[in-house]
Symmetry: D2
């Protein structure tokens, strides 16, 4: 390919948070450039946001429908190649469907949709259109997460027996939504967030990280979701006993009322040959434990780590990489497959390491089943596929 891949963005205008993350991540490696956007549901705000980003005014659209329609008419190489969706959750589905119908590949922020029906419809649409779809489950982009996955895949930990995954956050420990804070307001409102707040928003990352690292599938759950802050209807905390397709067992818990914790996603995987431990807040270390030996601390870009982990690092050892670099790795893998598509090559999407629609559907099944389990007298519920 002799040009950059061209990205259009929906959402992510002034005051938004995750849109900026996507722009940095997408453009970090110099293979993707932002060429157009519909940055806000308020057309004037979209214009101003486009100006902030130094986009030509004619490529800044008032609505995503306008963007899709007009971009479709531009010649290949000038028009956007894919749409990045960074709107509030309830808009993911309609924008994704319209983008796919318009002939564009899609990158979509998490969670994929607000309910299972949408998720399954979206999966069918992707199959029907043959377009590429990337869900930014960004925590799988960290080099040491890839090292963890490799350790399991190569059998170094042996058969996996136990997994413990935690996701403590504290920002909803009080009723922040009552103050009108935007992020809190929509996440705690079933109309925008769907059937779950805590499990949908962050528990689902735990689910995805677990399945990514272990290569296993969570098949049964027994959940106890909680609403600790008065006035809420959706869960702000919860614990889940989990069972895996290989017989492994474990625990997944997440909380948005864990005071003093910012974004403490962490995982421990115990196999019959070894153990690994990883914590998102210090993502450059991976602790590996063996029987009757000293524990190891593996570090990003260190000599001797797997090729998958090494190639996910941009820097040499001792130069810490962070959230944005992990996020950028998702875009980099997606860019690689888009480039091949543009070059007219037949692609085997499964060989590219980024989360896809199936991950999104699995996540929705998980959250949906967890919510049902919490309300159920039955001990174990199966997670459908």
């Amino acid at each position: 390919m002799n040009r950059k891949i061209r990205m259009g963005m929906v959402g992510g205008g002034r005051d938004a948070f995750i849109g900026g993350v996507h722009r940095i991540a997408a453009q970090m490696d110099g293979r993707i450039e932002l060429v157009c956007g519909a940055f806000s549901s308020t057309p004037q705000k979209s214009k101003l946001s486009g100006k902030d980003l130094f986009l030509p005014p004619e490529r800044v659209y008032g609505t995503y429908r306008d963007m899709i329609r007009k971009e479709s008419k531009l010649p290949e190489g000038e028009r956007m190649d894919f749409v990045s969706i960074v709107t509030p959750n309830n808009m993911h589905y309609p924008v994704a469907m319209a983008s796919l119908d318009g002939g564009f590949h899609v990158v979509c922020d998490t969670p994929m949709t607000v309910n299972l029906d949408e998720a399954q419809n979206l999966e069918r649409k992707i199959e029907a259109t043959g377009k590429l779809f990337c869900l930014t489950r960004n925590y799988t982009g960290y080099p040491m997460v890839k090292e963890a996955r490799e350790l399991v895949a190569k059998g170094k930990l042996g058969k996996i027996r136990r997994v413990v995954v935690e996701y403590p956050q504290g920002w909803l420990a009080e009723r922040l939504e009552a103050s009108g804070q935007k992020q809190a307001s929509w996440r705690t409102d079933a109309r925008f967030a769907g059937v779950s707040c805590c499990m949908g928003d962050i528990g689902s990352h735990g689910h995805n990280l677990t399945e990514y690292i272990t290569g296993l599938r969570i098949t049964e759950v027994c959940a106890d979701l909680n609403v600790f802050v008065n006035g809420r209807t959706l869960d702000d905390d919860g614990s889940v006993l989990i069972r895996f397709d290989n017989g492994a067992r474990g625990v997944l818990w997440a909380s948005q009322v864990a005071i003093g914790r910012a974004n403490g996603l962490n995982i421990r995987v115990y196999g019959d040959k070894g153990t690994l431990e990883w914590d998102q807040e210090e993502p450059n270390s991976l602790i590996v434990r063996w029987p009757n030996k000293a524990a190891e601390v593996r570090r990003t870009a260190m000599a001797g780590i797997s090729k998958a982990a090494a190639s996910a690092a941009r820097l040499t050892a001792g130069r810490p990489e962070g959230y944005l670099e992990g996020f950028a790795n998702i875009y980099a893998s997606f860019a690689a497959v888009v480039a091949q598509t543009i070059d007219g090559k037949a692609v085997d999407e499964t060989k590219f390491d980024y989360p896809k629609v199936r991950d999104g559907v699995r996540g929705m099944f998980f959250v949906d089943t967890v919510v049902k389990s919490s309300a159920s007298e039955s001990k174990w519920l199966e997670v459908p596929e």
Copy 2:
């Protein structure tokens, strides 16, 4: 009191592990001295062990029954004041019953008994005899555990919402009992260990630590116990969803197959005003988290900690205290109440900070209910009192 308190010991002969721990812990503060013992079920081994300990031969007994009978006949001040029981678990009950009947106070290693019936009988016996009883749930002896308890008791963390307590060990990750290793053999054998291996041996410490720190009671459980190593009948791993009498929720899990972990008991308590975190393997730190502020690291013997924590430390700040000092704190509290009894004072045992028979009974109820829950289709089982 113008003399040391006099301890007799049952068990703890050559090759035993925990007996030596009790001897060091009991005698650390110079208020207790070992005066006699029946150190082994093999009389000759008991004799040799007594000699190692520089005891006069006439105070080294061949059987605990012999010891109790003969010591009873010695004058007060010469005879032992209490019996420390450090035998395999299945002997705790008969030795304790005999000691109480013989008129002696008792210190007993954990778990208290191998089943609930014994535990309840023992409780009744203690009530009937009016003797003092101390169960060495030693992890509550650490200064920073006491600081944690004070933080909760004083309301600094607010209302407790979530507790996560973990106890990973890795030493039973393979079938060690097949090699004849003694510790592994009796712990995995229902005749000596009772209804549970992992939950009975270590999960019960997690239960006790949780109730000690939070001042709450675990009232309902939903458990999933596992047997990962072939050939075992008792659990070597398990996870439990827990509910508390104040509405708090959480997770307790324990494992003896967590490779590379030695003795990783740790707890996190989340209240509506703050959070605390403590880890037994680095017991001199207590992390405390507040909303919108930097996390704090409190340290053993540091200026500004609670009186309860400060008085549980023997050293000045920066001089780490360990497992033996925590263990010794249990004996020190017990010695204080025994001394008052010897001096003829009326004692209110509840004012002395050491684990008592009720803690032991509660632990047995917990383990028993967890085992039943794991086998049950019902989601929640109540923990009786």
Copy 3:
């Protein structure tokens, strides 16, 4: 400004490391774009590198002289606004001088020059041309380094008494240059590296970080430099006693033979009211210690940190930022002042927080004096200004 700032690059072609770092850092915030470059001393390699970067062929130059000459003739707004110099060290000076003479602002990788004469000439040239100059002492770009600086500047730590700054690396523990490894070869060769290897390359970062955080100046040194690997002529390790203009004292040491350490720059500052500790390999934590209180762990983007630190973070709390983000903060500050210059505003460069030529000159004086001190029988040598 209604356009991006336009960057030309000298050096950083295929196989180079730091050029890629500069490109990511410069472009991370969407205010700077790479428009041209002379990426290699081999013109053909420069062309291929420009193609990798999707630059138009006419803006990819064979030599930096060619680039400066031709870009000068383009109209403002089309031509580059500044030159980023990422060549081997010995080329920093000639490229910087030519760029300034050509009317361009300059960003220059560290160390600024290979000797003191060049450094002082460059400073005079900058003064003469009135152009802007930024030296990428990138470690000062980390949010928690800015928090540290604010703590000192606001007097929270009181009068500074002691500073300990360390920079252990292990990559030169063996004679890597003998294998032809490029980075090792020029750094250990006085023709390219100047009077020092270890102190020049990394000790100088320690010097800069120290003066940045404390606001003090190192005025006297007593050094002991070492050559541990046979066959080397320049230092690969060294320790320096340091004295500051306010009477504070301390130690700076650096090593390239500290096996197992990747890039362990760290600093501790002890004042008469408090202490701070920061470690580049876990850069999102700043430990602050107070008398008779628990230690604090401040984290990037946490509530309650200084404005300087908060505005240097791109993400919300709990999302770790790394080396590239810190590096990008240097470019962001430089971009802000360049933008004002382009807009024709009078700028007070001192109000913009990035390392300038004076920092580079100070660093050269420090390294030069340390080398002299190590060879001297006199105990203390003054560091000239």
Copy 4:
């Protein structure tokens, strides 16, 4: 031996700190018992202290001279076997001399004496009397310090190149002695503390730990001592460049004004094959680093550690040991050699791992030379032997 070893104590009465540490440490393993003492320079206080310790009144003496005289007249096996000296520093020398003259072995708290003359006289006296002498440089008693020493001794780290040893404390950051605080008062007073406060009190521990672990000798120093708190005459902080007999170099610094640090002795040793790091405040971990491999965390009592380290641990892995256990290891080694002496065996004292008079003399030479160096214009001073 068929009895315990009998210890007399000088100093350590009510209100003293270190005396209690010695009593716990000495008696921890059940081989030593306290049989008599002169606990205070105030006879009445000595009596009360003896009563606290349940000693028979006739074995509690008003003065150490009295104790030595009267104990000498008791039969062997009844009289004390050795004297433990835990007085203020200035009394170490006269008590030790009198004890040796009285025919008793000696254990002495650190620092050994208040000046070099005393130290050398004491060394000569020990040689002349043939008695055993143990200096409680207790930090060498930690199991992981022994593991560190073994790593070096076995050549695992290769040739040692660099050592960095630090000892930050913060308790003298203000003029505590002005409040009459006893520990601060004598340590900052040359009459009791000798030529140095900080270097004598804690820097000397750093010196000893360094030589113990590395097996090397510090042969040259270049020091910069500081007095940061107004009104003091002795150093409360200082840094020293150090050179070793094998060509290794490094830094030793110590401070009593490092606010927020309690007792932060730590050491790092860099060899040409590997690196080790140990920190007294978390003494159960030893970090070992290798080229191009993950760092290792070795833990007390872990499988696979050296025999020397394993036998210095009383507990199984995961049960943390602390300051008292390390201290007790010093007494345990001393007890072993005393026992052999009592049994009439010829002993080779060098085979027993505890600090001896030579360590004390070396420490005094070190402190003395450091003080001279700090006052000198010459860069390097040799440390005499």
